[in-house]
């Protein structure tokens, strides 16, 4: 199995705040990795580094074969391989669901309108929102918006999907519908890295769980570590999250 994501001793500082203090882990093809940890543990920053929304200060970060520590990195080709979904959906409010999904395939890949429409139909069917093609984002519930955001990323056929606390803004019922879509993606073999507070989801779907604390990987392993934490810190964290 080859590593799709590889972090080696990553450091990142915001001003005087040392957010990442030597983070290392790997995610392999077809695997789902869940990063968990308290607020401020650096988990979102680590994820954002993988799509180069943040640059790293030190260490080696390889994503889908792109060396992100290399100043000559071609960000454009990186972004073609990586999709990201945000906590606040970030759909484009002035575009319909279909236009949201087809925008990148058409402008970045130069795909024809009719073909892009087919792609949109396919990915929206995947997230169960085919009938919402012509709706505007604000006419949808939060859960539906988040599923459109997932579809929008999928339309670019990424090799890796990043999820940054994508259900944190949703109530339990809407969280469920988004998690089901993500679970299906995992079953389809998509490589996924997610920052999440959904312990049940991490336990059931993730192949690999990474517990971050104070900018470092404190404990990691299979989802089994959520049942049998090896460190007191993770045990406490798992208890508190229940």
């Amino acid at each position: 199995m080859s590593a799709v994501v590889e972090l080696k001793n990553i450091h990142k500082t915001f001003g005087t705040n040392h957010v990442l203090r030597g983070v290392s882990f790997e995610v392999h093809r077809g695997q789902v990795a869940a990063i968990i940890g308290q607020s401020g543990s650096g988990k979102s920053t680590a994820l954002r580094c993988m799509d180069r929304l943040e640059t790293i200060d030190q260490g080696e970060l390889t994503v889908c074969g792109h060396a992100l520590h290399d100043p000559k990195l071609d960000v454009k080709t990186l972004r073609r391989d990586v999709g990201i979904v945000f906590q606040s959906y970030n759909l484009f409010p002035h575009l319909t669901v279909e236009q949201n999904v087809t925008l990148a395939p058409r402008t970045v890949k130069g795909i024809k309108a009719s073909e892009a429409r087919e792609i949109a139909t396919a990915v929206l069917a995947k997230v169960g929102l085919k009938e919402k093609m012509s709706a505007y984002p604000e006419q949808l519930s939060g859960g539906q918006q988040q599923r459109v955001a997932i579809a929008r990323s999928l339309a670019m056929e990424p090799k890796l999907m990043l999820f940054d606390e994508v259900t944190s803004a949703l109530d339990p019922q809407l969280t469920g519908e988004v998690l089901r879509v993500m679970e299906q993606l995992a079953k389809d073999g998509m490589t996924m890295v997610l920052v999440t507070h959904e312990m049940a989801f991490a336990r059931n779907v993730a192949h690999q769980v990474i517990y971050m604390r104070d900018g470092k990987v404190h404990e990691s392993g299979t989802a089994e570590i959520l049942r049998n934490p090896q460190t007191p810190a993770l045990a406490n964290f798992v208890c508190a999250e229940k």
């Binding site: 929304l53 972004r79 409010p93 925008l103 990148a104 402008t107 970045v108 604000e138």
Partner: protein, 215 residues
């Protein structure tokens, strides 16, 4: 009051409308450039533009108009067409203000929209054109049309300096001939209102229309 005088007022009105339209067009184009330059990632460009805006905001339109009318002849060019000088001054003026209004609107579009577009692989210009500008435009409509009303009224400054025959200029001439200031300035005022009021109404209509997806 005879028909000839009314005709003169209407002729002045045309002068006002013409100068306003030219200002909307050139000031708008220039303003767009200013707004984009103002948020350019190139520091130098952003700084120079900021300095320009501050300079313009500190300069009375009357003085600017004078510079544009007399400036070229001081530099050895022969007599300047009043409409040209007035349009030039109004463009410098409107460009600075519209640029600053639009910069604010572009910056009011949440940063997360930039990020989402960036992560989908859109280039900076694609992000601006397809994601940020359309949303900024929606925010910009009310203040822009509000400023267009200012432009219409401020074209009257052209009469004072360059002798361009627009509504205020003709009203002043009529007053000098008839000594009926209340009548002719009053009529001029009504005509200004007749142009500006529909503009304001249109602004509200446009605002509702553009907001359709944000109801």
């Amino acid at each position: 009051m005879n028909m000839q005088y009314i005709g003169s007022l209407l002729q002045g009105l045309w002068g006002t409308v013409l100068l306003s339209l030219l200002t909307f067009l050139f000031g708008g184009l220039f303003g767009l450039v200013i707004a984009l330059a103002r948020i350019s990632p190139l520091r130098v460009v952003a700084r120079v533009t900021q300095a320009y805006i501050q300079f313009m905001q500190g300069l009375p339109l009357l003085v600017l108009m004078g510079l544009c009318f007399y400036g070229p002849s001081l530099m050895g060019m022969q007599s300047v067409n009043p409409l040209f000088a007035a349009t030039l001054a109004m463009t410098f003026y409107a460009g600075a203000y519209l640029g600053e209004i639009w910069r604010g609107c572009l910056e009011a579009v949440p940063k997360s929209q930039w990020e989402a577009a960036e992560c989908l692989g859109l280039s900076r210009w694609q992000r601006m054109r397809l994601v940020i500008l359309p949303q900024g435009l929606r925010l910009a409509t009310p203040p822009t049309v509000g400023f267009m009303v200012q432009i219409v009224k401020n074209t009257s400054v052209a009469s004072l300096v360059v002798g361009y025959t627009e509504l205020s200029y003709n009203a002043k001439v009529l007053n000098n001939t008839t000594f009926q200031p209340f009548l002719y300035f009053g009529l001029a005022g009504l005509l200004y209102f007749a142009v500006c009021y529909p503009l304001s109404r249109q602004a509200r209509k446009l605002e509702r229309k553009l907001n359709v997806s944000r109801r």
